[in-house]
């Protein structure tokens, strides 16, 4: 198998307010693959994704996106290339259509009704939602709208932060299918934070286990089954759902 790095991380550290949140991370997210990020709350998973999207600057270390240093990208084009569905993404107080169109609006472009309806359908939302106030949607519907909004930018790399946490198991599986389809059909590289180890086992090509800002283990999905590292074993036992 010929693996190319989509994102390569060297000695990455991140410090905020004198607290080290990421310690010396090293590793690669492979192109066209799905890598899950798992680990306890506060491990630094979200922080790592925000650094890859360019929302946060590393305190030290290097990040290469498609072999090019992250700081050489123009920030707005980096953020479109490496799209993120934020864990805390708010839904704006306007219609579903306007929410969906936001990535386009920011570029001074339009999102047609047809395009919007097609994207909504991808996340199992009926096109009749388009003209509803987004505020009125349920928690799970909002989460699907938020994913759909991130998809509008058609990024090469997608960073997903807990995108199914508010969904029932069957809706969560449908979103999983959608992400797998995007990955297979368009070769989009996926980096996916999840607290659901079953989900991680289902979708991972690779996985990283983070704890307290350190990379405990990384490798293919089999490391989620069993591990010789006591800390990982403890996490897998404690975190299994």
């Amino acid at each position: 198998m010929n693996l190319e790095p989509a994102i390569a991380i060297h000695d990455l550290c991140f410090t905020a307010k004198d607290r080290t949140i990421l310690h010396n991370l090293n590793g690669v997210f492979y192109k066209g693959k799905i890598t899950t990020l798992v680990g306890p709350s506060g491990a630094g998973k979200t922080t790592l994704l925000k650094i890859c999207n360019g929302l946060l600057a590393p305190s030290s270390g290097d990040i290469l996106i498609d072999r090019q240093p992250i700081e050489e990208y123009e920030p707005t084009s980096l953020r479109r290339k490496v799209g993120i569905a934020l864990q805390s993404a708010p839904i704006l107080r306007c219609s579903v259509h306007e929410n969906l169109a936001l990535p386009r609006t920011l570029q001074g472009k339009q999102l047609t009704e047809e395009e919007a309806a097609a994207v909504l359908e991808n996340v199992q939302l009926d096109s009749s939602f388009l003209h509803r106030e987004a505020e009125e949607l349920s928690g799970g519907q909002k989460q699907r709208l938020s994913i759909a909004r991130t998809l509008i930018n058609q990024s090469d790399i997608l960073l997903l932060d807990e995108i199914t946490s508010a969904l029932d198991p069957s809706s969560a599986k449908e979103i999983e299918e959608l992400i797998l389809k995007i990955n297979r059909k368009y070769g989009v590289t996926i980096i996916w934070i999840t607290h659901n180890l079953q989900q991680a086992r289902r979708v991972s090509d690779f996985t990283w286990i983070l704890q307290n800002g350190k990379l405990l283990a990384s490798g293919n999905a089999s490391i989620l089954e069993n591990s010789e590292i006591p800390a990982v074993q403890q996490f897998l036992n404690g975190g299994a759902q």
Binding site: L55, A57, P75, T76, L86, A89, L106
Partner: protein, 252 residues
């Protein structure tokens, strides 16, 4: 009025002083400081103005305006701690407001170019712009705090800092201007504006006093708009670094 008669008005200080003491409001110290400061500051300015009006030398007028801008800047900047270059940003704002309003008033010959007009009107414009700056900074801070997630969302989707804060900047500008506009709606109905009252008590014709007051409230509208818009556009870029990342300015 003699200083003897004026000293009778100290009764107005004793009433709140005694009430504060008996109700244990513990405002006595603040009341004393406020009294002493207002007397000293007003007497000092009275003598300074007396001197300047006597000479009618433009250098003194200029110095007086610079002093007003300096004091107002030092006062308003406390609300902007942490914003890089906030002192200069407020100073530029106040200076622009002063230049524009005086430019119109003097340039079109609306008021005579003498210290007697320039200094009090400048004082009103600079003072009002100072209050507006403080209102704006407070409001902008609150808007940002309430909307950090939305700002982050817009940046994360490839928006620019300007796009990310635009809505919040506009609502802070708007909110800081509302008191000025609202005050004008009821002006004269309840309370006569201070300047107009002063003129009338001083013996001026009420119609003339009203004309001046109209001139002032119109100028104050420009003053309020300019102050919050200029300060807003000077401040918002400092919330982000050159990588378009939100930095810890005006943040909890």
């Amino acid at each position: 009025m003699t200083y003897g008669t004026l000293s009778l008005t100290l009764i107005f200080i004793f009433i709140p002083f005694l009430l504060s003491k008996s109700l244990k409001l513990s405002l006595e110290k603040d009341i004393t400081i406020a009294t002493v400061r207002s007397v000293i500051q007003l007497l000092a300015i009275g003598y300074v103005l007396h001197f300047i009006f006597g000479t009618d030398n433009y250098v003194y007028i200029l110095l007086m305006i610079l002093l007003m801008i300096t004091v107002a800047t030092l006062n308003a900047r406390k609300k902007g701690v942490g914003i890089p270059g906030i002192t200069w940003k407020i100073a530029i704002t106040l200076l622009t407001v002063e230049l524009v309003t005086q430019g119109v008033l003097l340039g079109l010959g609306i008021v005579p170019a003498t210290a007697q007009y320039i200094i009090p009107i400048s004082g009103m414009m600079i003072g009002n712009a100072m209050v507006l700056s403080v209102l704006f900074l407070n409001r902008f801070r609150a808007e940002l705090e309430a909307n950090e997630n939305e700002i982050e969302l817009i940046l994360s989707l490839g928006g620019t800092p300007k796009q990310a804060v635009h809505r919040h900047l506009m609502s802070a500008i708007k909110a800081s201007m509302i008191p000025t506009i609202e005050a004008q709606k009821t002006i004269g109905l309840v309370q006569l504006p201070g300047m107009m009252s002063g003129q009338i008590i001083g013996g001026a014709d009420p119609i003339q006093a009203v004309q001046f007051q109209i001139l002032i409230i119109f100028a104050l509208l420009t003053c309020a708009t300019l102050a919050s818009v200029i300060l807003g556009f000077l401040v918002y870029p400092t919330l982000f670094n050159e990588r378009m990342q939100r930095i810890a300015v005006l943040r909890k």
